[in-house]
């Protein structure tokens, strides 16, 4: 049975598509799945940076498409987990160098040997987005609680429903539980109210994620850190297991007290 192709997209840039892709992929691989991540952001490649595999990339997606190497040759193996591979994007080329059909056939070939093929989509709703969506079986929409991110996510959901008949899952990234609890910023319910799609996961805002991403050490690798739980939960839900949302408060004495008082 071929694996599932999942595309991670958002519409707006900078909301955390690449971070989400990386960490969900790592979490899935840690759960024993064979995972391949594909960077579809040709010309602005950075999935390899976030995964910390930059120095090991030899061939990229455009090389595969143009026949300069075999597909398996272009896959970079991540040594830190069991079965995680990366297919990098070309930095020197353009989105138009990979057609929609080519993207579909590459992903189809990858899904023969992998359980999950995860595509990191470029921002926007143009050609790059189209070719990242075309091969996918499932779509994850990443958004933050910002107005602009929500507006763009809404538009992307509309396009997905109209053109691709997809029912995307939602990932709320950089969620500031404190602000939402105080009623300053919209909370999960308000977000779901607007977007009205299934929630797949919520990632709290935390400096460790920023730092880990910057160092090329995905936070999901560190199971002892409490925020990495968000990604492992998400991976469980991708695999079809029902797990409750995590507690967004950082563990600690004062937070334990706050919890006692119901805040």
């Amino acid at each position: 049975m071929p694996g599932t192709v999942i595309t991670v997209t958002s519409g707006k840039g900078g909301v955390g598509k690449t971070t989400t892709t990386t960490n969900v992929a790592v979490a899935l691989a840690m759960a024993g799945k064979r995972v391949v991540v594909v960077d579809a952001d040709i010309g602005l490649r950075n999935l390899d940076l976030v995964m910390g595999l930059e120095s090991r990339v030899i061939y990229d997606l455009v090389d595969v498409v143009e026949g300069r190497c075999e597909l398996q040759q272009a896959l970079v193996r991540d040594n830190r987990v069991e079965a995680l591979h990366l297919l990098a994007a070309a930095q020197t080329r353009d989105k138009s160098d990979v057609g929609i059909q080519q993207m579909v056939s590459v992903c189809k070939a990858l899904s023969q040997t992998a359980d999950y093929v995860i595509i990191d989509s470029p921002a926007g709703i143009e050609h790059g987005f189209q070719s990242a969506i075309a091969p996918s079986d499932r779509v994850l929409i990443v958004t933050t609680a910002d107005v602009s991110a929500l507006r763009d996510a809404d538009k992307v959901i509309y396009l997905l429903e109209r053109d691709w008949k997809h029912q995307p899952g939602l990932v709320v990234n950089r969620y500031n539980a404190q602000l939402s609890r105080d009623g300053e910023l919209r909370d999960i319910d308000d977000i779901l109210d607007i977007l009205s799609i299934d929630l797949l996961g919520v990632v709290p805002e935390h400096k460790s994620i920023v730092l880990a991403t910057d160092r090329g050490q995905p936070i999901a690798l560190n199971r002892r850190h409490y925020v990495s739980q968000a990604y492992h939960n998400m991976a469980q839900r991708v695999m079809g297991n029902n797990v409750p949302l995590m507690d967004f408060r950082e563990p600690g004495f004062f937070n334990a007290l706050a919890r006692l008082f119901g805040r």
Binding site: D154, K155, Y158, D189, D190, D193, S196
Partner: protein, 332 residues
Amino acid sequence: MPPSVRKRKAVQESRTGAVDPHSVKTRASEQLDNATVMEEGTEQEAINSAAELHNGADQSHGEKPADAARAEFGAESGADEATSLTAVKIRGRPGGVSIEMGEGDWDDLIKALDERLSAAEGFFRGGRAVLELGPREASEERLRQVRVILVRHDMTLGIVKSTARRTLQAALMLGLSTSSEAEEPVPAEPAMAPVVAITQPQSPYFVHNGTLRSGQVLRKAESVVVLGDVNPGAQVISAGDVMVWGRLRGVAHAGAAGNKKAVVAAIEFSPTQLRIAGVAAIAPESKKTGRGLKFWQKPPERRPEVAYIADGRIVVEPWDDSRPGRPKTVRR
């Protein structure tokens, strides 16, 4: 528009006009025999309000109600023509129009059909016709004539019904669907089908099932009912009313063709921007929802609201549930 409304209007016209009310009434019931039969002697008020409602709808479509009513019932036709006029029967059916060609010379019937359709002034516009020919044998050429007339009146010829084989063959040659049963016509398409022909004011409501998302624009000549939310960034534009059975958070424009009586209503009313005819308004500060309130603060009551023009300004007020369909203060 629903046949019942149109009929009420006809009755009212006849009372005010020079035509003898009873004769018009009998003809009306004969012609629109599928319409719900209205009881005799309904209060004048109901009739007036129905007529008013109708006139309101007409303004946006540019029809002339008085003429339409008179012409439709063709009260002033000569006696000769009357025989062929009655030989052609046009009836509204769910999902289309049924045209029955009775006895008589074919050319006369064709002429009568043309007149009847012209007299209806686009009442059947956009309709899908079922042609019922009974045992009559019609050639390809004759069916083509019918089709030409229907097309001229913005209608389509869907199904030809006949008991004569030759007629059915001719219809098939023209690429039309046929049906040999003489029983009641089954709508060829779901009743929604003609509504999709958007520019036609044939049906007064367009129902959109689902949420309108950012970037989506729903633009209709009819009044629009959205069964779902209108999200921020989405737009609903209608020449008639805009009703949102959900949350209105985007832009709504009612009476886009200039109908100042149009209203915008929603279960949860918080549009980004609101326009009725040529008047625009931006939403008041959004009310705080339940979250983030201190325990002694009560969350604001959320009620369906309706917006309309009063004194040239857009007014928003709670939907009057004691008189559905009306705002509290104005009785239109």
